[in-house]
Chain length 238, copies 2
Protein backbone atom coordinates (compact mmCIF):
# COMPACT_ATOMS: atom_id res chain seq x y z
CA UNK A 1 0.00 0.00 0.00
CA UNK A 2 3.00 2.29 0.13
CA UNK A 3 2.59 2.47 -3.63
CA UNK A 4 -0.22 4.98 -3.35
CA UNK A 5 0.91 8.43 -4.48
CA UNK A 6 1.87 10.92 -1.81
CA UNK A 7 -0.90 13.38 -2.62
CA UNK A 8 -3.48 10.64 -2.17
CA UNK A 9 -2.08 9.55 1.17
CA UNK A 10 -2.20 13.10 2.42
CA UNK A 11 -5.70 13.65 1.05
CA UNK A 12 -7.04 10.55 2.77
CA UNK A 13 -5.29 11.35 5.99
CA UNK A 14 -6.87 14.80 6.07
CA UNK A 15 -10.23 13.34 5.05
CA UNK A 16 -10.06 10.87 7.94
CA UNK A 17 -9.22 13.64 10.34
CA UNK A 18 -12.21 15.61 9.11
CA UNK A 19 -14.57 12.62 9.24
CA UNK A 20 -13.41 11.63 12.71
CA UNK A 21 -14.17 15.07 14.05
CA UNK A 22 -10.60 16.27 14.59
CA UNK A 23 -11.51 19.20 12.38
CA UNK A 24 -15.09 20.40 12.24
CA UNK A 25 -17.08 22.82 10.20
CA UNK A 26 -15.37 26.17 9.82
CA UNK A 27 -11.98 25.04 11.12
CA UNK A 28 -8.83 25.94 9.24
CA UNK A 29 -6.58 23.14 8.06
CA UNK A 30 -2.84 23.67 8.49
CA UNK A 31 -1.51 25.95 5.78
CA UNK A 32 -0.02 24.59 2.59
CA UNK A 33 3.45 25.59 3.68
CA UNK A 34 3.01 23.91 7.02
CA UNK A 35 1.67 20.68 5.53
CA UNK A 36 4.57 20.87 3.11
CA UNK A 37 7.05 21.06 5.99
CA UNK A 38 5.44 18.51 8.30
CA UNK A 39 5.00 15.90 5.59
CA UNK A 40 8.22 16.63 3.72
CA UNK A 41 6.34 17.21 0.49
CA UNK A 42 6.57 19.87 -2.12
CA UNK A 43 3.89 22.50 -1.98
CA UNK A 44 2.59 21.47 -5.41
CA UNK A 45 1.94 17.98 -4.04
CA UNK A 46 0.16 19.39 -1.02
CA UNK A 47 -1.96 21.55 -3.30
CA UNK A 48 -2.86 18.49 -5.32
CA UNK A 49 -4.12 16.74 -2.19
CA UNK A 50 -6.11 19.79 -1.13
CA UNK A 51 -7.61 20.24 -4.58
CA UNK A 52 -9.02 16.71 -4.41
CA UNK A 53 -10.52 17.45 -1.01
CA UNK A 54 -11.97 20.65 -2.42
CA UNK A 55 -13.48 18.79 -5.35
CA UNK A 56 -15.05 16.33 -2.95
CA UNK A 57 -16.59 19.20 -1.06
CA UNK A 58 -14.78 18.74 2.24
CA UNK A 59 -13.01 22.09 2.19
CA UNK A 60 -13.13 25.43 0.47
CA UNK A 61 -10.08 27.59 -0.02
CA UNK A 62 -9.86 31.28 0.52
CA UNK A 63 -6.94 33.30 -0.67
CA UNK A 64 -5.10 34.99 2.15
CA UNK A 65 -7.05 32.95 4.66
CA UNK A 66 -6.58 29.23 4.32
CA UNK A 67 -8.38 25.96 3.72
CA UNK A 68 -11.70 25.95 5.53
CA UNK A 69 -13.41 22.71 6.48
CA UNK A 70 -16.93 22.60 5.13
CA UNK A 71 -19.23 19.77 6.12
CA UNK A 72 -22.57 21.27 5.24
CA UNK A 73 -24.31 22.19 2.06
CA UNK A 74 -27.12 24.50 1.10
CA UNK A 75 -30.51 22.85 1.76
CA UNK A 76 -30.53 19.07 1.47
CA UNK A 77 -27.68 18.43 -0.96
CA UNK A 78 -28.61 14.86 -1.61
CA UNK A 79 -27.46 14.68 -5.15
CA UNK A 80 -23.82 14.97 -4.27
CA UNK A 81 -22.15 11.79 -3.18
CA UNK A 82 -21.40 12.63 0.39
CA UNK A 83 -23.39 10.74 2.97
CA UNK A 84 -26.59 12.03 4.47
CA UNK A 85 -25.13 12.91 7.85
CA UNK A 86 -22.26 14.91 6.41
CA UNK A 87 -24.38 16.83 3.93
CA UNK A 88 -27.48 17.61 5.89
CA UNK A 89 -26.04 17.84 9.36
CA UNK A 90 -25.57 21.52 10.09
CA UNK A 91 -26.83 24.30 12.27
CA UNK A 92 -29.84 24.74 10.01
CA UNK A 93 -31.17 21.22 10.19
CA UNK A 94 -31.22 18.72 12.98
CA UNK A 95 -30.69 15.25 11.67
CA UNK A 96 -31.73 11.87 12.91
CA UNK A 97 -31.29 8.41 11.48
CA UNK A 98 -33.47 5.49 12.45
CA UNK A 99 -32.39 2.01 11.49
CA UNK A 100 -35.46 0.04 10.45
CA UNK A 101 -33.62 -3.17 9.62
CA UNK A 102 -30.15 -4.64 9.82
CA UNK A 103 -27.31 -4.45 9.19
CA UNK A 104 -27.78 -8.12 8.41
CA UNK A 105 -26.25 -10.60 6.00
CA UNK A 106 -28.60 -12.14 3.48
CA UNK A 107 -28.86 -13.12 -0.16
CA UNK A 108 -29.03 -10.53 -2.89
CA UNK A 109 -32.55 -9.74 -3.99
CA UNK A 110 -33.24 -11.04 -7.49
CA UNK A 111 -33.49 -9.34 -9.81
CA UNK A 112 -31.13 -6.65 -8.54
CA UNK A 113 -31.33 -3.13 -9.92
CA UNK A 114 -27.70 -3.08 -11.02
CA UNK A 115 -25.77 -5.91 -12.59
CA UNK A 116 -23.53 -7.68 -10.08
CA UNK A 117 -20.15 -9.18 -10.90
CA UNK A 118 -19.10 -12.68 -9.91
CA UNK A 119 -17.37 -11.98 -6.61
CA UNK A 120 -20.22 -9.76 -5.47
CA UNK A 121 -22.79 -12.45 -6.21
CA UNK A 122 -20.81 -15.14 -4.40
CA UNK A 123 -20.31 -13.06 -1.30
CA UNK A 124 -23.52 -12.42 0.50
CA UNK A 125 -24.95 -8.97 0.86
CA UNK A 126 -25.20 -6.83 3.95
CA UNK A 127 -28.58 -5.16 3.99
CA UNK A 128 -29.50 -2.02 5.81
CA UNK A 129 -32.74 -0.07 5.82
CA UNK A 130 -32.66 3.41 7.26
CA UNK A 131 -35.13 6.21 7.66
CA UNK A 132 -33.75 9.72 7.68
CA UNK A 133 -35.21 12.74 9.41
CA UNK A 134 -34.54 16.43 8.96
CA UNK A 135 -36.01 18.61 11.68
CA UNK A 136 -38.18 15.72 12.87
CA UNK A 137 -39.69 15.15 9.42
CA UNK A 138 -39.08 11.83 7.68
CA UNK A 139 -37.53 12.80 4.37
CA UNK A 140 -35.67 9.79 3.11
CA UNK A 141 -36.02 6.01 3.09
CA UNK A 142 -32.82 4.29 2.08
CA UNK A 143 -32.20 0.62 1.30
CA UNK A 144 -28.48 -0.09 1.20
CA UNK A 145 -26.79 -3.21 -0.16
CA UNK A 146 -23.11 -3.84 0.56
CA UNK A 147 -21.20 -6.88 -0.75
CA UNK A 148 -19.97 -8.92 2.21
CA UNK A 149 -16.35 -8.84 1.06
CA UNK A 150 -13.61 -8.37 3.61
CA UNK A 151 -15.71 -6.41 6.08
CA UNK A 152 -15.22 -8.44 9.28
CA UNK A 153 -17.83 -7.93 11.97
CA UNK A 154 -19.54 -5.17 10.05
CA UNK A 155 -23.00 -6.24 11.11
CA UNK A 156 -22.17 -5.77 14.77
CA UNK A 157 -20.52 -2.38 14.45
CA UNK A 158 -21.98 0.85 15.56
CA UNK A 159 -21.82 3.51 12.89
CA UNK A 160 -19.38 6.33 13.58
CA UNK A 161 -21.23 9.63 13.77
CA UNK A 162 -24.24 7.71 12.40
CA UNK A 163 -22.45 7.81 9.07
CA UNK A 164 -21.98 4.72 6.93
CA UNK A 165 -19.27 6.38 4.88
CA UNK A 166 -17.29 7.53 7.89
CA UNK A 167 -17.45 4.01 9.33
CA UNK A 168 -16.27 2.38 6.12
CA UNK A 169 -13.44 4.90 5.80
CA UNK A 170 -12.16 4.73 9.35
CA UNK A 171 -12.74 1.05 10.17
CA UNK A 172 -12.08 -0.60 6.84
CA UNK A 173 -10.16 1.95 4.78
CA UNK A 174 -12.91 2.03 2.16
CA UNK A 175 -13.11 5.43 0.51
CA UNK A 176 -16.00 6.47 -1.69
CA UNK A 177 -14.54 7.70 -4.96
CA UNK A 178 -17.53 8.36 -7.21
CA UNK A 179 -21.22 7.84 -7.59
CA UNK A 180 -23.60 7.05 -10.39
CA UNK A 181 -27.33 7.40 -10.05
CA UNK A 182 -30.60 7.20 -11.88
CA UNK A 183 -33.30 9.59 -10.82
CA UNK A 184 -37.01 9.14 -11.34
CA UNK A 185 -40.25 10.61 -10.10
CA UNK A 186 -42.68 8.01 -8.78
CA UNK A 187 -45.89 7.80 -6.79
CA UNK A 188 -45.61 6.52 -3.23
CA UNK A 189 -46.88 3.00 -2.80
CA UNK A 190 -48.61 2.22 0.49
CA UNK A 191 -45.66 0.58 2.28
CA UNK A 192 -43.19 3.35 1.41
CA UNK A 193 -45.78 6.02 2.13
CA UNK A 194 -46.41 4.60 5.58
CA UNK A 195 -42.72 4.67 6.51
CA UNK A 196 -42.33 8.21 5.24
CA UNK A 197 -45.56 9.23 6.94
CA UNK A 198 -47.21 10.58 3.85
CA UNK A 199 -50.27 9.89 1.72
CA UNK A 200 -50.06 6.98 -0.73
CA UNK A 201 -49.97 8.35 -4.27
CA UNK A 202 -47.90 11.41 -3.32
CA UNK A 203 -44.96 12.22 -5.60
CA UNK A 204 -41.53 10.94 -4.53
CA UNK A 205 -38.03 11.09 -5.93
CA UNK A 206 -36.60 7.64 -6.41
CA UNK A 207 -32.85 7.09 -6.79
CA UNK A 208 -30.82 4.07 -7.73
CA UNK A 209 -27.23 4.63 -6.68
CA UNK A 210 -23.99 2.81 -7.27
CA UNK A 211 -21.00 4.06 -5.32
CA UNK A 212 -17.46 3.30 -6.51
CA UNK A 213 -14.69 2.93 -3.94
CA UNK A 214 -10.93 2.82 -3.73
CA UNK A 215 -11.18 -0.99 -3.78
CA UNK A 216 -11.34 -1.75 -7.47
CA UNK A 217 -14.37 -4.02 -7.72
CA UNK A 218 -16.14 -3.07 -4.54
CA UNK A 219 -19.35 -1.11 -5.00
CA UNK A 220 -22.14 -0.08 -2.67
CA UNK A 221 -25.73 0.06 -3.87
CA UNK A 222 -28.70 2.03 -2.64
CA UNK A 223 -32.33 2.46 -3.50
CA UNK A 224 -33.63 5.69 -2.04
CA UNK A 225 -37.03 7.33 -1.74
CA UNK A 226 -37.16 11.04 -0.94
CA UNK A 227 -40.11 13.07 0.21
CA UNK A 228 -39.58 16.53 -1.28
CA UNK A 229 -42.85 18.09 -0.18
CA UNK A 230 -41.23 20.11 2.56
CA UNK A 231 -37.52 20.01 1.69
CA UNK A 232 -36.12 20.14 -1.81
CA UNK A 233 -33.03 18.17 -2.67
CA UNK A 234 -30.41 20.76 -3.44
CA UNK A 235 -27.07 20.42 -5.11
CA UNK A 236 -24.24 22.62 -6.22
CA UNK A 237 -21.97 21.53 -9.01
CA UNK A 238 -18.89 23.29 -10.20
Amino acid sequence: MSSAPQYQKLQQKLKSQILSGMYTDGDLLPSENELSRTHSLNRVTVRHALSVLEQEGYITKRQGKGSVVQLKRNSLGLLSFKGFTEVVGSAQHTVKTQILYGPQSLNWPAPFFYELNGSESEAGCIYLERLRFADEDAVMLEHTYIPDLDLPAFSSRKLINDSLFATLALQYGVEIMNMEQDVRAVLADPSVAEKLMMEPGSPLIHLYRKYGTNRGNFYIYSSIYCNTQKYAMGSFIS
Copy 2:
Protein backbone atom coordinates in the same frame (compact mmCIF):
# COMPACT_ATOMS: atom_id res chain seq x y z
CA MET B 1 -8.69 40.65 -20.29
CA SER B 2 -5.03 39.73 -20.51
CA SER B 3 -5.18 39.48 -16.73
CA ALA B 4 -6.87 36.09 -16.88
CA PRO B 5 -4.44 33.34 -15.91
CA GLN B 6 -2.81 31.35 -18.67
CA TYR B 7 -4.39 28.05 -17.69
CA GLN B 8 -7.83 29.61 -17.90
CA LYS B 9 -7.21 31.09 -21.32
CA LEU B 10 -6.07 27.73 -22.62
CA GLN B 11 -8.99 25.93 -21.00
CA GLN B 12 -11.54 28.26 -22.55
CA LYS B 13 -9.86 28.12 -25.92
CA LEU B 14 -10.04 24.33 -25.92
CA LYS B 15 -13.60 24.42 -24.64
CA SER B 16 -14.60 26.73 -27.48
CA GLN B 17 -12.96 24.43 -30.00
CA ILE B 18 -14.87 21.49 -28.57
CA LEU B 19 -18.19 23.35 -28.48
CA SER B 20 -17.77 24.67 -32.01
CA GLY B 21 -17.28 21.17 -33.33
CA MET B 22 -13.58 21.40 -34.15
CA TYR B 23 -13.14 18.37 -31.91
CA THR B 24 -15.99 15.92 -31.52
CA ASP B 25 -16.75 12.97 -29.36
CA GLY B 26 -13.87 10.52 -29.14
CA ASP B 27 -11.27 12.81 -30.70
CA LEU B 28 -7.89 13.21 -29.07
CA LEU B 29 -6.79 16.67 -28.04
CA PRO B 30 -3.16 17.60 -28.77
CA SER B 31 -0.86 16.03 -26.20
CA GLU B 32 0.24 17.90 -23.12
CA ASN B 33 3.75 18.27 -24.49
CA GLU B 34 2.44 19.61 -27.76
CA LEU B 35 0.11 22.11 -26.11
CA SER B 36 3.05 23.07 -23.95
CA ARG B 37 5.18 23.79 -27.02
CA THR B 38 2.55 25.51 -29.16
CA HIS B 39 1.38 27.80 -26.37
CA SER B 40 4.77 28.37 -24.77
CA LEU B 41 3.50 27.18 -21.41
CA ASN B 42 4.92 24.84 -18.87
CA ARG B 43 3.41 21.39 -18.84
CA VAL B 44 2.10 21.91 -15.31
CA THR B 45 0.09 24.87 -16.55
CA VAL B 46 -1.25 22.86 -19.48
CA ARG B 47 -2.22 20.08 -17.07
CA HIS B 48 -4.06 22.62 -14.93
CA ALA B 49 -6.12 23.71 -17.94
CA LEU B 50 -6.88 20.12 -18.88
CA SER B 51 -7.84 19.18 -15.34
CA VAL B 52 -10.48 21.92 -15.35
CA LEU B 53 -11.84 20.61 -18.63
CA GLU B 54 -11.87 17.14 -17.15
CA GLN B 55 -13.74 18.33 -14.08
CA GLU B 56 -16.29 19.97 -16.32
CA GLY B 57 -16.78 16.70 -18.13
CA TYR B 58 -15.54 17.75 -21.55
CA ILE B 59 -12.64 15.32 -21.68
CA THR B 60 -11.37 12.21 -19.99
CA LYS B 61 -7.70 11.39 -19.77
CA ARG B 62 -6.14 8.02 -20.39
CA GLN B 63 -2.59 7.28 -19.45
CA GLY B 64 -0.49 6.36 -22.42
CA LYS B 65 -3.26 7.48 -24.76
CA GLY B 66 -4.19 11.09 -24.40
CA SER B 67 -7.04 13.46 -23.62
CA VAL B 68 -10.26 12.17 -25.15
CA VAL B 69 -13.13 14.51 -25.93
CA GLN B 70 -16.32 13.30 -24.30
CA LEU B 71 -19.57 15.03 -25.10
CA LYS B 72 -22.02 12.39 -23.98
CA ARG B 73 -23.03 10.87 -20.71
CA ASN B 74 -24.64 7.64 -19.64
CA SER B 75 -28.42 7.76 -20.05
CA LEU B 76 -29.90 11.23 -19.68
CA GLY B 77 -27.34 12.94 -17.50
CA LEU B 78 -29.46 15.92 -16.75
CA LEU B 79 -28.21 16.58 -13.29
CA SER B 80 -24.81 17.72 -14.44
CA PHE B 81 -24.57 21.29 -15.62
CA LYS B 82 -23.86 20.74 -19.25
CA GLY B 83 -26.61 21.66 -21.64
CA PHE B 84 -29.17 19.21 -22.88
CA THR B 85 -27.77 18.91 -26.39
CA GLU B 86 -24.26 18.19 -25.22
CA VAL B 87 -25.28 15.64 -22.62
CA VAL B 88 -27.99 13.69 -24.32
CA GLY B 89 -26.85 13.99 -27.90
CA SER B 90 -25.10 10.74 -28.73
CA ALA B 91 -25.41 7.64 -30.84
CA GLN B 92 -27.79 6.14 -28.32
CA HIS B 93 -30.38 8.86 -28.37
CA THR B 94 -31.59 11.11 -31.09
CA VAL B 95 -32.33 14.54 -29.78
CA LYS B 96 -34.69 17.23 -30.88
CA THR B 97 -35.47 20.62 -29.43
CA GLN B 98 -38.68 22.47 -30.16
CA ILE B 99 -38.95 26.12 -29.23
CA LEU B 100 -42.43 26.77 -27.90
CA TYR B 101 -41.92 30.45 -27.17
CA GLY B 102 -39.28 33.13 -27.62
CA PRO B 103 -36.55 34.06 -27.25
CA GLN B 104 -38.32 37.27 -26.35
CA SER B 105 -37.68 40.19 -24.03
CA LEU B 106 -40.22 40.75 -21.30
CA ASN B 107 -40.52 41.60 -17.64
CA TRP B 108 -39.47 39.20 -14.96
CA PRO B 109 -42.31 37.13 -13.58
CA ALA B 110 -43.15 38.14 -10.02
CA PRO B 111 -42.52 36.50 -7.72
CA PHE B 112 -39.45 34.90 -9.24
CA PHE B 113 -38.16 31.58 -7.91
CA TYR B 114 -34.72 32.95 -7.10
CA GLU B 115 -33.90 36.31 -5.64
CA LEU B 116 -32.72 38.78 -8.29
CA ASN B 117 -30.13 41.47 -7.71
CA GLY B 118 -30.59 45.09 -8.73
CA SER B 119 -29.01 45.06 -12.16
CA GLU B 120 -30.88 41.92 -13.12
CA SER B 121 -34.21 43.41 -12.11
CA GLU B 122 -33.57 46.63 -14.03
CA ALA B 123 -32.57 44.87 -17.20
CA GLY B 124 -35.42 43.00 -18.74
CA CYS B 125 -35.41 39.27 -19.05
CA ILE B 126 -35.10 37.15 -22.14
CA TYR B 127 -37.57 34.31 -21.93
CA LEU B 128 -37.37 31.01 -23.74
CA GLU B 129 -39.59 27.97 -23.52
CA ARG B 130 -38.31 24.77 -25.02
CA LEU B 131 -39.56 21.23 -25.26
CA ARG B 132 -36.93 18.52 -25.47
CA PHE B 133 -37.28 15.15 -27.13
CA ALA B 134 -35.19 12.00 -26.78
CA ASP B 135 -35.93 9.39 -29.42
CA GLU B 136 -39.13 11.19 -30.37
CA ASP B 137 -40.44 11.20 -26.80
CA ALA B 138 -41.04 14.51 -25.06
CA VAL B 139 -38.96 14.27 -21.91
CA MET B 140 -38.30 17.80 -20.75
CA LEU B 141 -40.06 21.14 -20.63
CA GLU B 142 -37.69 23.99 -19.87
CA HIS B 143 -38.47 27.61 -19.08
CA THR B 144 -35.31 29.71 -19.27
CA TYR B 145 -34.84 33.25 -17.99
CA ILE B 146 -31.76 35.25 -18.99
CA PRO B 147 -31.06 38.80 -17.79
CA ASP B 148 -30.95 41.12 -20.80
CA LEU B 149 -27.50 42.46 -19.94
CA ASP B 150 -25.01 43.06 -22.72
CA LEU B 151 -26.41 40.40 -25.04
CA PRO B 152 -27.01 42.41 -28.25
CA ALA B 153 -29.42 40.88 -30.73
CA PHE B 154 -29.77 37.72 -28.72
CA SER B 155 -33.46 37.34 -29.47
CA SER B 156 -32.81 37.15 -33.19
CA ARG B 157 -29.97 34.67 -33.07
CA LYS B 158 -30.15 31.10 -34.12
CA LEU B 159 -28.75 28.75 -31.51
CA ILE B 160 -25.48 27.07 -32.46
CA ASN B 161 -25.92 23.31 -32.53
CA ASP B 162 -29.31 23.94 -30.90
CA SER B 163 -27.36 24.61 -27.73
CA LEU B 164 -27.93 27.69 -25.61
CA PHE B 165 -24.64 27.23 -23.80
CA ALA B 166 -22.61 26.88 -26.99
CA THR B 167 -24.24 30.06 -28.34
CA LEU B 168 -23.52 32.06 -25.21
CA ALA B 169 -19.93 30.85 -25.16
CA LEU B 170 -19.11 31.45 -28.80
CA GLN B 171 -21.12 34.60 -29.50
CA TYR B 172 -20.88 36.41 -26.20
CA GLY B 173 -17.98 34.83 -24.35
CA VAL B 174 -20.25 33.74 -21.52
CA GLU B 175 -18.98 30.55 -19.92
CA ILE B 176 -21.06 28.51 -17.50
CA MET B 177 -18.99 27.99 -14.39
CA ASN B 178 -21.28 26.26 -11.94
CA MET B 179 -24.86 25.32 -11.23
CA GLU B 180 -27.11 25.17 -8.24
CA GLN B 181 -30.44 23.40 -8.29
CA ASP B 182 -33.37 22.35 -6.19
CA VAL B 183 -35.04 19.09 -7.07
CA ARG B 184 -38.58 18.09 -6.24
CA ALA B 185 -41.09 15.47 -7.23
CA VAL B 186 -44.45 16.92 -8.29
CA LEU B 187 -47.65 15.86 -9.98
CA ALA B 188 -48.17 17.08 -13.53
CA ASP B 189 -50.72 19.86 -13.81
CA PRO B 190 -52.90 19.85 -16.93
CA SER B 191 -50.97 22.46 -18.94
CA VAL B 192 -47.57 20.88 -18.32
CA ALA B 193 -48.97 17.40 -18.88
CA GLU B 194 -50.36 18.42 -22.23
CA LYS B 195 -47.04 19.77 -23.46
CA LEU B 196 -45.20 16.66 -22.28
CA MET B 197 -47.94 14.45 -23.74
CA MET B 198 -48.68 12.62 -20.51
CA GLU B 199 -51.57 12.12 -18.15
CA PRO B 200 -52.28 14.90 -15.65
CA GLY B 201 -51.38 13.73 -12.17
CA SER B 202 -48.39 11.68 -13.34
CA PRO B 203 -45.18 12.11 -11.34
CA LEU B 204 -42.61 14.57 -12.66
CA ILE B 205 -39.23 15.81 -11.58
CA HIS B 206 -39.16 19.55 -11.15
CA LEU B 207 -35.92 21.51 -11.06
CA TYR B 208 -35.12 25.09 -10.25
CA ARG B 209 -31.69 25.94 -11.59
CA LYS B 210 -29.36 28.87 -11.24
CA TYR B 211 -26.29 28.85 -13.45
CA GLY B 212 -23.23 30.92 -12.53
CA THR B 213 -21.04 32.33 -15.30
CA ASN B 214 -17.64 33.88 -15.83
CA ARG B 215 -19.33 37.29 -15.68
CA GLY B 216 -19.48 37.98 -11.99
CA ASN B 217 -23.11 38.90 -11.45
CA PHE B 218 -24.62 37.30 -14.50
CA TYR B 219 -26.79 34.27 -13.81
CA ILE B 220 -29.14 32.19 -15.92
CA TYR B 221 -32.29 30.71 -14.44
CA SER B 222 -34.36 27.72 -15.46
CA SER B 223 -37.47 25.95 -14.31
CA ILE B 224 -37.56 22.43 -15.72
CA TYR B 225 -40.09 19.61 -15.76
CA CYS B 226 -38.86 16.12 -16.60
CA ASN B 227 -40.88 13.10 -17.55
CA THR B 228 -38.95 10.13 -16.18
CA GLN B 229 -41.45 7.42 -17.01
CA LYS B 230 -39.40 6.12 -19.92
CA TYR B 231 -35.96 7.66 -19.36
CA ALA B 232 -34.35 8.14 -15.98
CA MET B 233 -32.16 11.13 -15.35
CA GLY B 234 -28.70 9.74 -14.83
CA SER B 235 -25.63 11.40 -13.46
CA PHE B 236 -22.11 10.48 -12.60
CA ILE B 237 -20.23 12.41 -9.99
CA SER B 238 -16.59 11.99 -9.06
